[in-house]
């Protein structure tokens, strides 16, 4: 397990990645303890509150929305749906993609071809539009948005697993294992999977960040979480009419929340890429040394 230790220390020496990890852990805690942390009920108008109080008003740090609900409380509760809609689709899609990608990469020929040609069809659609189309057909609601996001992410992740599997299965130790009569299933899961996993984890983390942004977009269209449930994308889009009336903060704060969470995921993704890839890391180091040697030679 020494490799993990090295990866961990590499990850945490990366300041940017550490900041990202801290933000995500913080977000999970906020989501978990939302009822305790939030000063008000997210969907109800507190006594004495009026509509569209500006940020900094006594008792309403980020102000109130068009119905007089506390924006901070709604953002705190919105953390829950945002994290769910970021993590669940990506994890589900990853699990399905591992199966599809490894099978396609390992059984090249007919099976692999069919799987990858189907994926090609999905690549013809811009991801956001595909998600919108599927979610629109399935109808509004968080669950349908999650299903749509799973379908949209599968082709991208399958391709990552597929190319890694192809590379891995051409290596000598796999040939050797085959020659020794090790079962195919065993090779797939005991030999190939562990080698494919790191890059998929890196990719998933980055995709989680993108997914938050996409889901916010679906909420803007009116798909996804339905009112009065607190949801960042919905809050930001509900505030759009209020822009004209000079109340930008109703839109501004939820957008910033989306930005921070999504940014944190991509920071972790970047950090993981550098940390989980000892080969890449040593290659970078080696190249630096070689460059220096070349200059000295």
């Amino acid at each position: 397990m020494k490799g993990w230790k090295i990866a961990c220390s590499a990850f945490f020496t990366d300041k940017v990645a550490t900041v990202g990890a801290v933000i995500i852990i913080f977000a999970f805690l906020v989501a978990l303890f939302a009822p305790i942390l939030a000063p008000y009920h997210p969907n109800e108008v507190a006594e004495g509150s009026i509509r569209l109080m500006p940020p900094g008003t006594d008792g309403h740090l980020l102000g109130t929305d068009q119905q007089g609900r506390d924006i901070l409380s709604r953002i705190i509760f919105g953390t829950q749906t945002s994290l769910i809609s970021a993590v669940v689709p990506v994890v589900m899609a990853a699990v399905i993609s591992i199966g599809l990608g490894i099978i396609a990469g390992f059984y090249q020929g007919v099976v692999g071809n069919i799987i990858m040609r189907i994926m090609d069809v999905f690549f013809a659609f811009p991801a956001v539009l595909l998600a919108i189309a599927i979610a629109a057909i399935l109808g509004p609601g968080l669950l349908n948005v999650i299903i749509a996001m799973i379908i949209v992410r599968i082709p991208y992740m399958t391709r990552v697993v597929y190319t890694d599997t192809l590379q891995e299965s051409q290596k000598e130790y796999i040939e050797a294992a085959k020659a020794f009569g090790v079962g195919r299933i065993e090779i797939m899961f005991k030999q190939i999977l562990p080698n494919v996993l790191p890059s998929l984890i890196v990719y998933s983390t980055t995709l989680a960040g993108v997914t938050i942004v996409t889901v916010a977009g679906l909420s803007f269209i009116g798909l996804g979480v339905q009112p009065p449930e607190a949801d960042w994308g919905r809050m930001a889009s509900d505030g759009s009419d209020l822009l004209m009336l000079g109340h930008p903060f109703v839109t501004f704060f939820p957008g910033i929340a989306i930005l921070i969470l999504s940014f944190a995921f991509s920071m972790i993704g970047d950090g993981l890429r550098n940390a989980l890839d000892p080969y890449e890391r040593s290659k970078v180091k080696k190249e630096k040394v070689n460059a220096k040697k070349a200059m000295v030679a």
Binding site: K293, A294, M295, V296
Partner: protein, 344 residues
């Protein structure tokens, strides 16, 4: 320090050159008191293992060490009597290519894959000279023909990946001659080539030297190459010159143990002259060159030298003349010094 005796028409003079570069551990002296002198029409070689400072010497002469790597230069580099160490980048660009040009080490990767070979040669001609485009094309074709390329026009029209390694090497040599430089520096020009092509390329260098009068400085690790082409040679080890002199002198009367070891590394010296197959068993120099950040006070070769005495580990020898018909035969070895003084 000892200065090489100058001939007439000196072209390049390097005097007591010290180059320091930045490393994570601090400033490192990679070149230590280098003295070289190349006259017009000379063919000279610098020999050494990788890490000995050969390439650093060229990069210092052309001042091409990356800004954030370079710490400082000291000493003097003169081209045609004029110091170039403190001239500006603009003036230096007039020297690069026009006065001194480089023959790329790896012809495979040193040509731009996106342009035809001819276009790359005339790009340099047009940039550095006042020739018209038509004259530039003519000149490029002439140079390619001079390089012994039969189908110069076809090569001119080809992309780099369409040419064989030998042809590419010739193209790179032609490129280095694009602006009629007085000196071309070739860094390991043959190490990436097949043995048969190696010989052709070396012959080509000789021809260039003979026909165009271009001085040539060859950087190599292979004494075989030196013996074939160079009139004089400098042997480098760990950032210092340890022996220099006329090629025949250095090869047949090597004074430094390191030179000796390098000579033993070629299969058989006769191979070079008889084109035969080597018979002697290959010799390897044991151990690693010293870390330049962490040098002892003694001779830098001492830990690998099979003749090393106690004094070698405590006192750094200086580059001194040896008793030899060649007045410029210099050696940096305490043992040779001692032997010489006994002989007297």
């Amino acid at each position: 320090m000892i200065q090489a005796v100058r001939k007439k028409e000196a072209f390049l003079n390097v005097t007591n050159l010290m180059t320091k570069i930045h490393t994570p551990e601090g400033s490192m002296t990679v070149l230590d008191h280098i003295n070289l002198s190349i006259d017009k029409g000379d063919i000279m070689a610098i020999v050494g293992e990788s890490g000995s400072g050969k390439s650093m010497t060229i990069h210092s002469i052309l001042q091409m060490i990356t800004k954030n790597l370079l710490d400082s230069y000291a000493g003097e580099i003169e081209v045609e009597g004029k110091s170039i160490l403190d001239i500006g980048e603009k003036e230096m660009q007039q020297i690069r290519g026009k006065k001194i040009s480089l023959v790329a080490q790896n012809a495979m990767t040193s040509l731009d894959p996106s342009y035809r070979v001819g276009k790359q040669i005339i790009e340099i001609i047009l940039d550095k000279t006042n020739l018209s485009k038509r004259e530039a094309i003519e000149k490029a074709l002439y140079l390619l023909e001079e390089m012994g390329i039969d189908e110069a026009k076809r090569v001119f029209q080809s992309y780099p990946h369409q040419l064989s390694g030998g042809l590419r090497q010739r193209v790179v040599i032609a490129m280095s001659l694009a602006c009629d430089p007085d000196l071309i520096i070739a860094d390991e020009p043959t190490s990436a080539l097949d043995p048969s092509v190696q010989l052709q390329v070396l012959e080509l260098f000789k021809k260039i030297n003979r026909d165009l009068g271009t001085a040539i400085l060859i950087i190599t690790h292979d004494f075989g190459v030196v013996a074939r082409i160079a009139e004089s040679v400098a042997v480098m080890y760990a950032g210092q010159i340890v022996e220099q002199g006329k090629t025949s002198e250095v090869i047949y009367n090597p004074q430094h143990p390191y030179t000796n070891s390098l000579l033993n590394c070629i299969p058989d010296l006769d191979w070079i002259f008889l084109d035969g197959v080597g018979k002697k068993p290959l010799f390897q120099i044991k151990g690693e060159p010293p870390n330049l950040m962490n040098l002892s006070s003694g001779c830098r070769f001492a830990n690998r030298c099979h003749m090393a005495k106690d004094i070698c580990r405590s006192k750094l020898p200086e580059l001194k003349k040896v008793h030899s018909p060649d007045l410029n035969h210099l050696v940096r070895c305490l043992l040779t010094e001692r032997r010489e003084s006994y002989a007297k």
